[in-house]
Symmetry: C2
Subunit: 430 residues, 2 copies
């Protein structure tokens, strides 16, 4: 693999000030988040279809437009998840051209956070941090724990105390230190800023945030490449802090600039749970001002009441002609079931949000049936089983004999018949 | 994608009888399992490095050596999971050339069963089955439920009543009918044979078994391709029914026959839990006779007491100069932790078995430090969290203030110091 890199640096779009490369996330003049800026002219010979396609089958095939420090050789095969044609789901929702980008099977920890962590830890190592960490609603905790274990770095991870059991176990298993904070994500996040100021620790989503956020671009690159180097008409993306949706746009814009895809007007749609929908509210109110909310939703991985990138996400969505919607917790669970039953993909609550919002947007006529629409599923259903478990009742245990089995199936079919559910057609036996 | 297929048919190695293509698993003369046989000469122009590498990034790139019915266009992007260089785990176990083939992130349901189900359902559809099903210890149930949902087929799945909750939920979520049987896997499996005889249902691991089993070959193809078209010195594979390990060998042999890899003497090592180790016992006793066991192990996905392919697996392992080992349930959990802490990969109990057996084989000197060894991890840790959850205690919830955080970390470090665990070095703060 070529190790050629495109020069990059931190800068503030608002103040215009450059910061070189250092662990810093906020401009000291404009107090707005720093971004990574590339020398895109230098990228032209490095980021071509041919070079990308000859690269490894993971996100590092896009390394020349990611902030990877000179000399760092990434070897964890993160990303390059399936883009699945979703005919069945499309049929149910009313779209003939629907795709699911499925990070529920992302390596190594089954969420898109693996992408951002991979980039952040490459930089953490280059900056010489001995301890890395994060504030997390769960998926990020899993990913930092797993990837820091592999890189041989110590990790200290802060989460809200009421996090789902599977996400807590999936952090502890890697040997990371987990600190449960008596508060919501916004409390945890503020504490992490204090810790990062006080100690020489690399917090992936605090002082390493500009690098971290760039990792999300890999999703945009993959969508375009997997569509045969073209852009979709619409993307539907879940929103927590508001960064992901912006970075997918940045990836598309870079591909257009480099001439790898044709310029196209892509509309961006944001998805939130009603119980934590500050960005969706801002979009609906046509404002960039985020009114913080106290989260109350089962979609805990999206439960950021005061999203750092909210103002920019709101503006960007409106500028592209997109929209944002939110759905109730009941709709979230239905969204999870709908995606599972139609496409065989089991997603966590955030994916339920995205699926249910997509249904809503199609029903509203904001997304047309024939438009190529990509729905981004960001995490796996096995992490939030508690939210759906009570939808199902376990049948009784049946003795292992044919007559007992038949009796049981007929029992179920009797019930099913009364609820108009299709039978298994035991009568078709011979 | 080329849709050219290699002609194939069912036959019995023992009786020599051919059966064409039909839903049948046992030879009526020799009473041994049927196998799929290909016209390998016809495969030569279809299965080349160039054609494979130009194929999709999933197991269908190997379709010309899989039994895919004419006209079936597979579209679910199953397989092509990461092959990870495991330097840290190798260091801990004493191997300098260790790889992990990681089906814990297999699409769509996070286990290698997705591969076999994909091939079985392609055939189920071609044979016209309206209902498909399986007997399962969990992973297979998940995969049949997910993939049949996507294909629009009805599914009826039989499992032992005491299956792990995550595996039950991960079946129900797709809308499949699940029947819990009051018995172990062997009871369930026998009942499924009766049902398959009685009704016109396609049971992937009963009457579709010969096709199903061939799906495992894709792992062997991937390992060889991902190593740069060469074979490893050793593979370590978990054993339940004993089919998987044989099919990986079959894949390697086919690659050698077609000239895609150099001929090499690969040794095959089988891994079981001591609480269900009929094949390992047979290997150790140098016999092909399997003495059935009543399973008692947390590694339920391997808990098949009377393995159908056991005799053949035992013989094959001995013939390659390999070996089989088994480990206690305590070692299984340690194996899970070891893999997570070193490589950031969280596997289910079966992967704990494989990791712990690998450690044992290296310690015994059966696998040498410099040999290229591939360990096959077949499933995800989020499916069997109950087995490891009690290893961890949740710390108390900490108030979101810097002083509270520092107090808590110092508390932990005090405990850690007394157990010689490394600190997080709060003292390094400024």
């Amino acid at each position: 693999m070529s190790s050629a890199c495109t020069p990059y640096e931190l800068y503030s779009k608002e103040s215009g000030k450059s910061y070189g490369n250092q662990p810093l996330s906020i401009c000291d003049e404009s107090f707005t988040p720093l971004e990574v800026r590339y020398d895109l002219e230098a990228a032209k010979p490095l980021f071509t279809k041919k070079i990308v396609e000859a690269g490894p089958d993971n996100m590092w095939r896009y390394r020349s437009l990611l902030p990877i420090p000179e000399g760092f050789e990434p070897d964890l095969p993160v990303g390059f998840t399936p883009l699945v044609r979703a005919k069945n789901l499309g049929k149910r929702l009313g779209s003939q051209n629907l795709y699911v980008k499925n990070d529920a099977v992302c390596f190594p920890t089954l969420s898109f956070k693996d992408r951002v962590v991979a980039v952040a830890l490459a930089n953490a190592r280059a900056f010489g941090f001995e301890v890395v960490g994060c504030s997390s609603t769960g998926n990020l905790a899993n990913s930092v724990a797993a990837q820091s274990a592999r890189l041989g770095m110590k990790a200290c991870i802060l989460v809200p105390a009421d996090l789902e059991p599977a996400k807590i176990l999936n952090t502890l298993i890697y040997g990371a230190r987990l600190v449960r904070i008596d508060g919501n994500y916004d409390h945890v996040n503020r504490l992490c800023s204090l810790i990062a100021d006080q100690y020489n620790w690399g917090f992936v989503n605090v002082n390493l945030r500009p690098y971290y956020a760039e990792g999300s671009k890999s999703v945009g690159f993959e969508i375009a490449e997997q569509l045969g180097w073209k852009l979709p008409d619409n993307v539907v993306v879940p929103m927590a802090g508001g960064s992901l949706i912006r970075k997918i746009k940045k990836a598309f814009d870079e591909l257009v600039y480099l001439g790898l895809v044709e310029k196209k007007h892509v509309r961006f749609f944001g998805a939130q749970a009603t119980g934590c929908s500050p960005i969706a509210q801002a979009v609906k109110n046509n404002t960039e001002t985020i009114t913080p909310q106290k989260p109350s939703t089962i979609a805990r991985s999206l439960a950021i009441g005061n999203p750092a990138d909210g103002p920019f996400a709101s503006r960007m969505i409106r500028e592209t002609g997109g929209w944002a919607e939110d759905v109730s917790d009941i709709e979230v669970v239905s969204g999870i079931q709908e995606l599972a039953e139609t496409e065989g993909i089991f997603t966590e609550t955030a994916g339920g949000v995205t699926t249910a919002v997509t249904a809503k947007l199609i029903a509203q006529g904001r997304i047309a049936a024939d438009e190529l629409t990509v729905v981004f599923i960001t995490g796996n259903g096995l992490k939030t089983t508690d939210c759906v478990a009570d939808r199902f009742t376990l049948g009784r245990a049946v003795r292992p004999r044919l007559t007992d089995f038949e009796e049981y199936i007929n029992e179920l079919d009797g019930v099913a018949a009364s609820t108009a559910e299709p039978e298994l057609a035991l009568a078709g036996g011979n």
